[in-house]
């Protein structure tokens, strides 16, 4: 029997509606062909190398509970403490809610298990209504979705931190799911981390300079839905710190009502093949999305970004800037689409992708696209792919700085400049440090 069979999905615990939903999704997934690199949205990817039969869904955390539990928990909390001030901490382990703690958890807000929410069946999939391929797989196998429901008019001072830890069990497939509903005129900051919490895994390499453990091959398929009501303001930071052998197929999708403001920032560090699809649909007049990503590819890693800025209403704005570097024989892909739908008059979309290629064997592909059905709009897109800027290097070298050091300064500066744009200030130092560590350069 294939490992992602409808029967397996149906056997996951949950209410009848959820079980029926999972089964339908698993059947739809089984009935559809897996994507291939011939499909436009999978061009340049490594999807042909993914052998799904090597993975099986895990919905429980038995191994952790026995001997690693305490130290895993300590590592997760140590990480949480480095993410800056927070109002609430949510931890899932292998996709199953483990803890919810903090002030906000007891306020009028709902933070926790989606299935405990009275509107759970309408909340799940409210933004991602018609998933295909891997998000569909998440629909089928997400064991325990997390909900953050911020009531109308409520503003939270400190961000909510969600840590999705994957641990143990090579060959496991993990399906974290987060659903955020920000009510009208609410304000919330969210930091969502997907992290390999094994001992010696990337989180510790980045944070503590430990030697890497033998990486565990896993499939991680996180889906996050962000639903912004009228004039809601959401700052959303995501950090991917998976182990070196992980496959990630992530999907972050947002829907913005009139005058809503989303500032999203994704950091990609780990994974063997780590793909992130970021969609932002501007549904209401004057809604605006600011989309940022910072990434560093090393070794033979591939980091793959697909974006959609979908303008569906008048005077909407989107501003995308994805910046990263590839070293060694790493490969990055950026492919993005700006869609200006009929009626999106006086909308403004920007899309920029800068890639530093730090080694001869490294590669970065950048593919911007426009699809414009409305005349009265403004769009701009641009990308750069190349080594460290020759003029910048010349400037520093003219000060007597040797070339290797000049390049270090420029690369560190490149990431410093983008780390400054992280919307939640508390998490900036960690992101800056992680990027510097991962880029292999320091200022000192």
């Amino acid at each position: 029997m294939p490992t992602f069979a409808p029967d397996t999905a149906a056997s996951l615990p949950g209410d009848a509606w959820l079980q029926a939903r999972r089964t339908a999704a698993a059947e739809a997934f089984a009935a559809s062909a897996l994507p291939t690199e011939k499909d436009e949205v999978w061009r340049y990817s490594r999807i042909d190398r993914l052998d799904l039969d090597r993975f099986a869904p895990v919905a429980t955390t038995p191994v952790v509970a026995e001997n690693q539990g305490a130290s895993t928990s300590e590592r997760i909390h140590a990480l949480a403490d480095r993410l800056g001030p927070r109002s609430c901490l949510v931890v899932t382990i292998n996709g199953v809610l483990a803890t919810v703690s903090g002030e906000a958890a007891s306020s009028t807000m709902t933070i926790g298990r989606l299935t405990d929410h009275p509107e759970s069946s309408s909340l799940l999939g409210s933004v991602l209504a018609t998933p295909t391929d891997f998000p569909l797989l998440n629909d089928a196998f997400a064991p325990d979705p997390v909900v953050i429901d911020v009531p109308e008019g409520v503003t939270l001072e400190a961000p909510i931190v969600i840590i999705h830890a994957v641990v143990g069990l090579g060959g496991s497939a993990v399906f974290p799911r987060t659903v955020v509903r920000a009510g009208a005129e609410s304000g919330v900051g969210i930091i969502e981390v997907v992290v390999d919490a094994d001992e010696g895994a990337l989180v510790e390499q980045v944070l503590g300079g430990l030697a890497p453990a033998v990486p565990c091959e896993r499939l991680v398929v996180p889906v996050t839905e962000l639903d912004l009501g009228e004039a809601a303001v959401v700052d959303y930071v995501s950090v991917q710190a998976l182990g070196a052998a992980a496959w990630q197929l992530a999907h972050q999708t947002s829907r913005l009502a009139a005058r809503a403001k989303l500032s999203s920032y994704a950091v990609a560090l780990g994974g063997a093949y780590a793909r992130l699809r970021t969609d932002s649909a501007l549904m209401g007049e004057s809604a605006s999305s600011r989309l940022r990503a910072a990434f560093i590819g090393r070794d033979d890693q591939m980091l793959d970004f697909r974006t959609l800025q979908d303008h569906c209403a008048p005077r909407t704005t989107s501003d995308l800037l994805f910046m990263g570097a590839v070293a060694d024989t790493a490969h990055s892909v950026y492919s993005g689409l700006i869609r200006m739908q009929k009626g999106a008059v006086r909308s403004d979309a920007r899309q920029t992708n800068h890639n530093l290629v730090l080694a001869e064997g490294a590669q970065a592909d950048s593919v911007p696209n426009l699809d414009i059905e409305e005349n009265d709009v403004q769009c701009s897109h641009g990308s750069t792919v190349g080594p460290v800027d020759e003029d910048q290097r010349y400037y520093l070298e003219s000060r007597g700085i040797e070339p290797g050091r000049a390049e270090q300064l420029i690369v560190a500066g490149f990431f410093e400049a983008i780390a400054e744009q992280v919307p939640l200030a508390g998490v900036r130092p960690l992101i800056g440090a992680a990027l510097a560590e991962r880029s292999g350069v320091t200022r000192d």
């Binding site: 520093l396 070298e397 003219s398 000060r399 700085i401 040797e402 300064l409 500066g413 490149f414 410093e416």
Partner: protein, 248 residues
């Protein structure tokens, strides 16, 4: 006080397919100020960049030596370590790299007094020099040349010169984009450096007004890639009065 000389001898250079400098010879000694004036397209900036080694330029013949060291055989950073500095006409933005970090790396490479300076030393010197030249202290923490006005960039270049204390400085239109007060501050700082540590200066300029503050010992007029006239400060005034028409 250093003594030495920067000798440019029959320098021919250009960009691929075009010879711009057609045999330039001049010698700057420590403590001297030489002005290079000339119309647009005469090769002034090319001269500065060829001596510093900017990528994209080709040397076709001749030599440039600093105390006998063959600069043209060295990469840019080693030319700087030999004691050369270029204040650029258009200082380049380096996002995310604060001035202090760049200078700490530069000073670690070129200790003036035989010992590498620590970052706090650099900060102290930077603040002193910024004060002296009227550069807002807050700009020192900014990434290099990012979001600086034209005048701030030129003051910034001058601050770097003063902190690094090179033996010879090429000033490529350090006066462009400066108002009268800034011009006086920058010119005076460079003039003082010729006394303080015997800085030798090759100042490229369009205008006479810089030379009222930074008084040249020698003035060269460059036209068509050649030095067409050499004289004292009076030559600069003559050029200012009559233009370059008589030299081209």
């Amino acid at each position: 006080m250093s003594t030495g000389e920067l000798v440019i001898d029959d320098l021919r250079a250009g960009i691929p397919g075009r010879e711009i400098l057609q045999g330039i010879s001049l010698t700057v000694r420590s403590g001297e100020v030489h002005a290079v004036m000339g119309p647009n397209g005469s090769g002034k900036s090319t001269l500065a960049h060829v001596i510093m080694g900017r990528p994209g330029y080709e040397v076709l013949g001749g030599t440039v030596t600093l105390d006998g060291i063959d600069l043209l055989a060295l990469p840019t950073w080693q030319r700087a370590r030999a004691g050369l500095f270029l204040a650029m006409q258009h200082p380049i933005e380096v996002p995310g790299v604060p001035l202090v970090d760049a200078l700490a790396s530069a000073r670690a490479a070129v200790p003036i007094d035989g010992s590498a300076s620590s970052t706090p030393d650099i900060m102290g010197r930077l603040h002193d020099e910024a004060n002296r030249i009227g550069l807002d202290q807050r700009l020192l923490d900014r990434p290099l040349n990012v979001d600086l006005s034209g005048g701030e960039r030129k003051r910034n270049e001058t601050v770097q010169l003063a902190v690094l204390r090179p033996r010879f400085a090429l000033l490529d239109e350090i006066d462009s984009g400066l108002d009268v007060d800034a011009l006086a501050d920058v010119g005076r700082r460079v003039q003082d450096a010729t006394d303080e540590w015997g800085l030798g200066v090759l100042a490229i300029t369009h205008f006479h007004r810089l030379l009222d503050v930074l008084v040249p010992d020698v003035v060269h007029v460059l036209a068509g890639g050649k030095v067409v006239a050499t004289g004292g400060p009076e030559l600069a005034r003559a050029v200012d009065r009559t233009g370059y028409a008589g030299y081209v």
